[in-house]
């Protein structure tokens, strides 16, 4: 801890010094006199959102003659690489993609991101509270989400019917029965991308939430200790599922978004369900042989409850996309951010089907049945947990993924993985 404080304060000083110099140099960024340029990096580098963002920026410039918005659409991985270099050089863009959580916290600690609490507070209640949470650090807001979603089970109704399953499982025990029934009917119960690790971490995270409750995950992270009965129980519950061998052949080598990966297996109707975020139907479509996915046959049910668990069914696990404001951004940046998140503009974004809105009033623009279920579950959520590999510092998040992968492959026991995760948590 000691070192964290010194590093933060020193970097803060360095950051403040650098921004003073930069602000001094860029006098024209100050409000009032002349043009302001907003340098905007987003990762919606394909239509429909590419065009939607461009149109919104144009609208804003039409009413704000002194603002010039330079848009830089980047591919996801390219964005991460470019942002890393830009932030290391101490010059982040003015407005940029962020997922919140531990990654954002690192940037905040390094003094690269602006605290926009005062600008955002007046209109923050138009947003779903769950969606803002990943961008709130120590009570201060460092970003605003434009898209939010959650993880749940996507299932193939036809295959469920074929195995004689009439109701979606409501408890973990029910789920295990469903898996056995599907296996008995010769159907692969679950598609899993073992190569990519993060899809498996959804199971472990959700089970931990259901067994120990939301607070258990937050407490474990702050105490740096996962070696507790709740996490061991959660790992054991997951092991029960793994021991039924519910996954498709060769799942340990399977990718997520490829024709023979998790999404392809689901989209082609070769497995009955997958635990995935709100984007699942779109990726199933893209990776299926027919390019149509499952269509009407696809259903959604929330992650089941665990008997005797402290968590509630209405606590959700997910994440979203948002924008953070760089430390040197001109004053009009937050105004532009507000413009992007008006109900009208959120409806436009939602209309594309690529975004689940964070502005409550825009929920009426959702058309797809499953997306509506996701959105209403989210809106009714009593608690929200960001993906662990984003919520926690990157090293801890990666260790959760690695350890869960070892549990899935059967090379480590439930007791061992919580010890491994704890030892990395302690080293942070």
């Amino acid at each position: 801890m000691d070192y964290n404080v010194t590093r933060r304060s020193l970097l803060g000083l360095a950051g403040a010094g650098a921004s003073a110099i930069l602000l001094g140099a860029c006098g024209n960024d100050e409000p009032g006199d002349g043009k302001q340029t907003i340098n905007w990096w987003h990762i919606q580098n394909n239509d429909p959102m590419l065009g939607v963002w461009a149109a919104m920026a144009k609208d804003f410039q039409a009413t704000h003659a002194n603002v010039n918005i330079t848009i830089q659409p980047l591919e996801n991985e390219a964005f991460k690489a470019k942002l890393t270099t830009a932030t290391q050089a101490g010059s982040p863009p003015d407005l940029f993609q962020s997922w919140g959580g531990g990654g954002l916290k690192q940037q905040v600690d390094a003094g690269l991101v602006k605290d926009i609490t005062n600008d955002v507070k007046p209109w923050a209640d138009t947003l779903l509270p769950a969606s803002v949470q990943p961008f709130t650090i120590d009570g201060r807001i460092y970003g605003v989400p434009f898209d939010v979603g959650m993880v749940g089970f996507w299932y193939n109704k036809e295959l469920f019917a074929k195995a004689g399953i009439t109701a979606a499982p409501a408890t973990w025990a029910d789920l295990l029965v469903v898996v056995s029934k599907l296996k008995a009917a010769g159907i692969t119960p679950i598609a899993l991308a073992g190569k990519e690790k993060w899809p498996a971490h959804f199971y472990w995270s959700y089970l931990s939430m259901r067994v120990g409750g939301l607070s258990a995950l937050q407490q474990a992270a702050s105490e740096r200790n996962f070696d507790k009965p709740d996490f061991i129980t959660a790992s054991q519950r997951f092991k029960e599922l793994i021991d039924l061998q519910p996954f498709q052949k060769g799942f340990l080598g399977a990718a997520y978004g490829s024709p023979d990966g998790q999404a392809g297996v689901m989209g082609n109707g070769n497995a009955a369900m997958e635990l995935m975020g709100q984007w699942a139907p779109a990726v199933q479509e893209a990776q299926s042989t027919s390019k149509k996915g499952l269509g009407d046959k696809l259903g959604f049910f929330p992650f089941p409850a665990v008997a005797g668990g402290k968590g509630s069914l209405s606590e959700v696990f997910g994440g979203g996309n948002g924008f953070s404001v760089g430390k040197n951004a001109p004053a009009s940046t937050t105004e532009f951010l507000k413009h992007l998140l008006t109900a009208e503009n959120q409806r436009k974004a939602t209309d594309t089907g690529a975004v689940l809105p964070t502005v409550k009033a825009a929920a009426d623009a959702i058309k797809d049945v499953n997306a509506k279920t996701v959105a209403s579950t989210l809106a009714a959520a009593t608690g929200f947990q960001l993906y662990l590999d984003q919520a926690y510092p990157p090293a801890l998040g990666a260790q959760v993924n690695d350890s869960v992968a070892e549990l899935v492959a059967g090379s480590k026991s439930p007791e061992q993985i919580v010890k491994d995760i704890t030892s990395v948590a302690k080293s942070q």
Partner: protein, 315 residues
Amino acid sequence: MNRVSSPVATRKRGHRPTLRGAGTIAVFLAPALVLFVLLVLLPILVAGYTSLFKWNGFGVPENFVGIDNFTRAFGDSVFLGDLTRLLLLVVLSVVIQLPFSLALAMLLNQPLRGRAVYRVIFFAPYVLSEVTTAVLFTLVFSPDRGLGEQIAAVFGAEGVAVFADPATVIYALFFVVSWKYFGFHMVLYLAGRQSIPRELGEAAITDGASAWQTFRHVTLPLLGPTIRISVFLSIIGSIQLFDMVWVLTGGGPIHASETLAVTMFSYGFRRFEVGYASAISIIMFLLSLIFAIFYQRFVMRRDLEGAITTRGVQR
């Protein structure tokens, strides 16, 4: 620099180097030197520096931890596993891949119908990039629908998902590496074989040597330099193996196909433990450097006479 009695100049040319001559040298040397310093030396020094810190890559490294990152590496089961897998890959290459390439080269040195075609076919995989190769074999070994599965089905067997099994993945990886590089080594050997004067083989046969004896006592010794350089390239390649593994398996399942470079990458760019990743990269660098020096000094000594290792020996 331009001292009158510069030994190099007197030996080489026998006349005095002028100030202008030194200037010319500087002008021609500068671009390469600047690039070398900026792109090779400086990054090594920076990595060496950051490897002494616990640093997440943001801002300036401040938390000095000495050699902790290095001691950590030698207690890290993944890193130690990388070293074991490296050794396994090297042994497999030297014992299987290179002899296979050599045998093929000898075969294609025979007057064979259409041997030019064979040579091209065998060399072709080398032209593909590692990423392309990896994607190709992901498709071939795709469970349920890959070519491997189809072929297994013909024989009534059920194909195994070789990349999904921690026990087989490293051998599957070796197979793909070999598939890509055997043609390259074959061409090296072929070139080496063709530079051996025909008379030597003929003389051996005249003396009553069998085909095997000719190969064992004439061809093989004369191929020595080629074999040594081919082993050298193969080992350095194994140390640095990254692209193919990253695309093919990502190092998994459960680190069973992870290499040093993959471990370094995932610590540096996934976990943002840049200090530790730097330490791993420094170890990789030292490993390559020490190996290269010793190999050249002791194994390739005769091949390199007068070039790198034995300074000042003039022919």
